[in-house]
Symmetry: D2
Subunit: 229 residues, 4 copies
């Protein structure tokens, strides 16, 4: 798993204005600082336009939020793996609930990422879909029940049985699979709960990006990981 | 029409490897040089990841290849106007044949661009669609019959009647509309033919990006514009 | 305008269980009866699977809810104009807010409908989009602000200025254009208001399909049309 | 596996004019006759508009070509499971190469089909995607390398190793999985080859629909199945 170590906190910047342009670079420096101080792995997933500036500024791994299942050529307006890689991304989110993909596209993107030594983090909405994705051997599977995204109701506490079922189903198909979970994560105890259920970390967005003090929340998350392991 | 003056040559970098990353910056410097030397307006439309580096390096206007009809918020993997603007783009291509959009998305994006003082360059495939787009008041309409894209058969010579019909239909709906044409443009005479048919320039991709000597072809295009006017 | 006369009430059956299969045929018989009794034009737009049974049972015009921009060939799972026509539909809804289409698809479908003597009813979400559609010369344009669909708040009363602006903008581009409006229409007075604003009828769904007594509501709508004209 | 027995020949009518409307009913009668005469299971997948007429005429199982991941409600222009079921379909094709779906839609549709005692036949493009689908427990998985569809080059002979690898990978995840293959099947020997590689039949389209004598080709396919087993 190049450049990305688990357990990990991945921060998805979405298209939040709090994490666009200069603000995205600033937030990434905060994430880097917390990662260095706490010793916990943190990765950030900014918008495409901000990847180069962030990857050129911080040492923590940067992910794209999406790539298209294409090779270099005539694909105006699409996202090319080679392009986000040259900009400095070490991998990409795939199939986020806000950017669901066709199954054959997911398979193509995971395979392309593997060939290019890029990390693939595939988002899923339930246990069955997670099992299907496990058969495609991505680097990481991140379970995010869409109904909890942005709610502040943590999947790890509101639906622990979904996480447990997913871990079990996924491991049966792919014993080496690495699972994260996301949606509604806002406190250290949510992160701790996620790890206790068998995941290797969290995928979080508004919980950090829209926090009054992102540094403080990231530190709380990191300490929860350190204490739980 | 902020930052973009006509007549103009717009170079679409698509996701060509010849116009990705450092190569995209290099090609943009060539375009800038030709623009300064010839006095002809040239704009470039690179991939999202390359906008900031190019806009920070050259003085010619930079366009995004696409934006999504969204506002800041929860839109993982999407393209935000505010994001490409902060990166340095002065506008965007919309509805390219390789990235066709829903009608209501085209309308939203044009309106958002207008509110943000951004240039909107909407691609169209025939006269009727161009007329529909003219009713939406974009900055520029660019006619590109998809069957000619990448063929080297220039729309301005192979289908002059389509260009003429489009100019006429569009002007009836919106007398101030500015029209470009594209597809198959590889020679100065194709550019000259486009201008004579009533357009204000060309949208070109492989004709420049995949040319052995892009500088030479851009100069040939520029001279054709200077001579024709 | 083959088979479809205005003023008209078009009833969209969506995928409501109250208007699926046998229930769809039954509701169509009610619509036919009201149309005959009141002398007001009523058309129904059932699901694809129900077109043949309905068109074979009632004499009022039947519309498809959508068709794809395709010709006969290899398009598994798509909707072919020739297929809905042979089943008995005289036309189709296009670009409903629940089935938005790419601009080039809308243009292709309208052109195909015209060539096949089929009626094209294009749904739009605001005045600008309606103007764009007017440039494509469909049979009918139906304005439906999506935020009002299914609310019971009638567009003709809540946003009369949007209807007026749309009528004006559309007529400027295409003086022969026929406009309907929809969204939130549940009472006769909503229909009357729609006509007074310059439309030639309404596109309605839940207001009829989910009414306790669809016959009664349809009769109320029909009387509103008769009285207003 | 309700109503559908293997080994089987499934005939996809696509949107071919040779298999639209009355011609679709006629072709279905031929398929029924061959099935009765040969004792081999044959199923047909016509367009939505033709399901009711065909299911009301023949006794062989009828499949839809696609359904959407929706429940009854506001989904204008979409395909509702309940609707194709009431029309007489016993199941549906899912994710055909001409109608690829998002992973989460495939999962939802398979689950909905299961709850409704409907057959789910999921098309796949390679071994990895087939394995992912196997984790979702559909009734049948049908491997169809898209590059061979409509070519007359049979997957079972041109790419036997892909079929073998798929069978193996799929069985590892789901030992009860039933596999078909398709693409390029035009002769009895192609069908025999498919069975020998471990599949339980074929999904075929132009090979039957566009044959000069569909009856003869269907009989040849059926005999190949009878002889091979």
């Amino acid at each position: 798993m190049k450049n990305l170590k688990v357990p990990i906190i991945i921060v998805n910047y979405k298209t939040y204005s709090e994490a666009t342009g200069k603000k995205a670079v600033k937030l990434s420096k905060i994430a880097e600082k917390v990662s260095i101080e706490s010793g916990v792995n943190i990765s950030v997933a900014p918008q495409f336009t901000d990847i180069a500036a962030i990857a050129g500024t911080v040492s923590i791994p940067v992910l794209a939020q999406h790539i298209d299942p294409i090779s270099p050529g005539s694909f105006t307006g699409h996202i090319l793996l080679e392009s986000v890689k040259e900009a400095g991304a070490v991998g990409t989110l795939i199939n986020h609930s806000e950017r669901r993909l066709k199954l054959c596209a997911i398979e193509t993107i995971i395979a392309k990422a593997r060939e290019s030594d890029m990390v693939s983090v595939v988002c899923t909405n339930n246990a069955a879909v997670s099992a299907a994705v496990a058969a495609l051997n991505p680097t990481i599977i991140s379970l995010e029940p869409p109904e909890l995204i942005g709610t502040g109701i943590p999947v790890s506490k509101a639906k622990p049985e979904v996480v447990t079922e997913t871990v079990e189903l996924v491991k049966r198909i792919n014993p080496d699979a690495v699972l994260l979970c996301g949606a509604g994560i806002t406190k250290g105890e949510d992160v701790a709960a996620a790890l206790k259920l068998g995941t290797m970390g969290v995928l979080v967005a508004s919980g950090i990006v829209k926090a009054k003090d992102p540094r403080k929340v990231l530190m709380e998350f990191s300490e929860a990981i350190t204490k739980t392991l």
